[in-house]
Amino acid sequence: MNKIKTLLNNPIVKREIKQTFRKAKIFWIMAAYLFALAGVSSVVLGSVGGSSNAYDPVLPSVMYFVILGMQMLLLTLIVPITTSTAISGEKERQTFDLLIITKTSMYDIIMGKMLSSLMIVCIMIVLSMPVYAVVFYYGGVSVLQFLLNQIYMLCYVAMIGSLGIVFSSVMKKSTAASIATIALIFAITIGAWMFIGMVGLMLSAIFRTKTLLKIFGSLFIFNPIVSFISMIDSQMGSDISWDLLDEIGFSFENDFIYCWHINMIVYIFISHLLIKLAAKKIAPVRKK
């Protein structure tokens, strides 16, 4: 309880929220985010519905998954850009030294930066609810599913946000940190497909063994795109990632735990490690 109180009373969180919402920029970002979300939903609504006036039961699910996918894409672009300037921005503004000589621990400084980004994401999630409300109107998606999906989003955002913070901690310039973060996220999402698939296939062909294919293939389930598809698929009663693993000889299929459940824990764990790493990197005095 005390730890939660300390986190919420973090002076960096209070200061960042005050400063962020005193600028017009955040409102333009949120407006653009909502415009993109609502715009895509309208296009889907128009094209899936077609010219028929009859109710199409596929419509709400398709709309929901498109909005969810769009939300994930937009957050994948917005969050790393915000967090990758967290520490390097302080260095550029020459406020960094005054921050690290205070009695607040490096971990609390990094967590403060992380939490203020997550709070902005939470506000964006709340803002997107009217767009989701259109889906609820048509039915087919429960509130519980929606809440679980948003919790998954937060876990995913925590991971990519903490990647941005690590780069921000080791690089002097915000531009370099932003580029490095986006490049790495591209690599672990889209890039991972190609790399793991190619290496796995090559090695299993060279050594004529399926074991290597199994090992490389199983790494797929941690890919954010596979995880997202798993989340959507599980709401239909199956999980494509378990099917993929089944193909290569691992059988995990069950009705309770899905790939995306495991990934929520993995993302939080990775995020925790990255935050600890960033805190170590910004610590000013190290014994020689």
Binding site: K14, R15, R22, D97, L98, I101, T104, K288
Partner: protein
């Protein structure tokens, strides 16, 4: 008492601080003087916990802060030479933020903020945005920030840098108040006459080594091997006759005649000095002033930091 013993700092192969040893008495205003690149800022940053030392000790209140950097946050307040400010933040919010970062209890913060703003004469700017303040006001606000946790030691790196004369005067007045409050203050500055005025003790550093340290009087006396006197007469009369008298004496040297005074170095005793004055008056020279010329910190600085530059040239 703050003791710096054999402090060393390397940047790669370059030795920025070379076995620096200093003692800074409690409650003193210590001026840290040296040319650019002497090692002042490096030493200050090590004391503030921003840089690690390659060797040596720094003891504050008996605690070696190099071995135990966790004590620095309690004991040291630091104001760097260059610092930024947060935009879209008011002066009171700025201090509130740092009070929170220094773990000042929330219920004590409003009173503390008001007291600090009063100390630095920024009460009327309490609700002004920090980026709207003038340079001098930002410096004063940053000074208030460094006091938020009531440290015993303040380290101020060029606090008057870039300030106009009025702003420098205001900063000096604040530093006098801090001295009266019993704080130990370490200041680095290039404005030597002002340092000489404010400081009780001075340390002159060059190429990472202490060249001289102590109270200003001690340093002056050590540097001045001979006494220097100045003679002034009514309407600048009789300077040539004074020069002739001085040339005849064995214990005077470096005699120079200026527009409004005659200056000379003296190695003799008080009796001989008394006879000299009588001699000048007896010759009918209208003596107005016969006084010892005090050296100044600038002269000491130039002498102590000039030798190695000349050697290099």
């Amino acid at each position: 008492m703050i003791q710096i013993e054999n402090l060393t700092k390397y940047y790669g192969k370059f030795k920025a601080v070379d076995g620096l040893t200093l003692e800074i008495p409690d409650g003193s205003v210590f001026g840290f003087v040296g040319p650019n690149g002497a090692g002042k800022t490096t030493t200050m940053k090590i004391m503030a916990g921003l840089l690690s030392a390659s060797g040596g000790r720094i003891t504050i209140d008996g605690v070696d802060i190099i071995e135990h950097p966790e004590f620095i946050g309690d004991k040291v307040g630091y104001m760097p030479d260059f610092f930024g400010a947060y935009d879209n933040l008011r002066a009171d919010e700025y201090l509130e933020f740092y009070a929170g970062m220094y773990k000042v209890p929330a219920d004590e913060q409003p009173r503390l903020i008001d007291d600090l703003l009063e100390l630095v004469d920024l009460t009327e700017k309490k609700y002004a945005y920090v980026d709207s303040l003038s340079r001098g006001m930002k410096q004063r606000l940053c000074l208030a920030r460094s006091l938020v946790h009531d440290p015993a030691l303040l380290i101020l790196d060029e606090p008057a840098s870039g300030l106009d004369p009025r702003a420098r005067f205001e900063m000096k007045e604040i530093l006098k108040q801090l001295k009266d409050l019993g704080k130990t203050v370490i200041i680095s500055s290039h404005i030597l006459p002002e340092l000489a005025e404010m400081c009780t003790h001075v340390g002159i550093i060059d190429h990472g080594v202490v060249k001289a340290t102590g109270s200003i009087n001690e340093i002056m006396q050590n540097m001045q091997k001979e006494q220097v006197f100045s003679i002034k007469t009514m309407e600048n009369q009789g300077f040539d006759r004074i020069r002739e008298i001085l040339l005849e004496l064995p214990f005077t040297s470096d005699i120079s005649v200026h527009t409004d005074e005659v200056v000379f170095s003296y190695r003799g005793d008080k009796e001989e000095l008394s006879r000299l004055v009588g001699n000048i008056v007896a010759k009918g020279i209208p003596l107005v002033s016969f006084a010892e010329k005090q050296g100044n910190l600038e002269d000491v600085f130039m002498e102590l930091t000039g030798d190695e530059e000349n050697e290099q040239n």
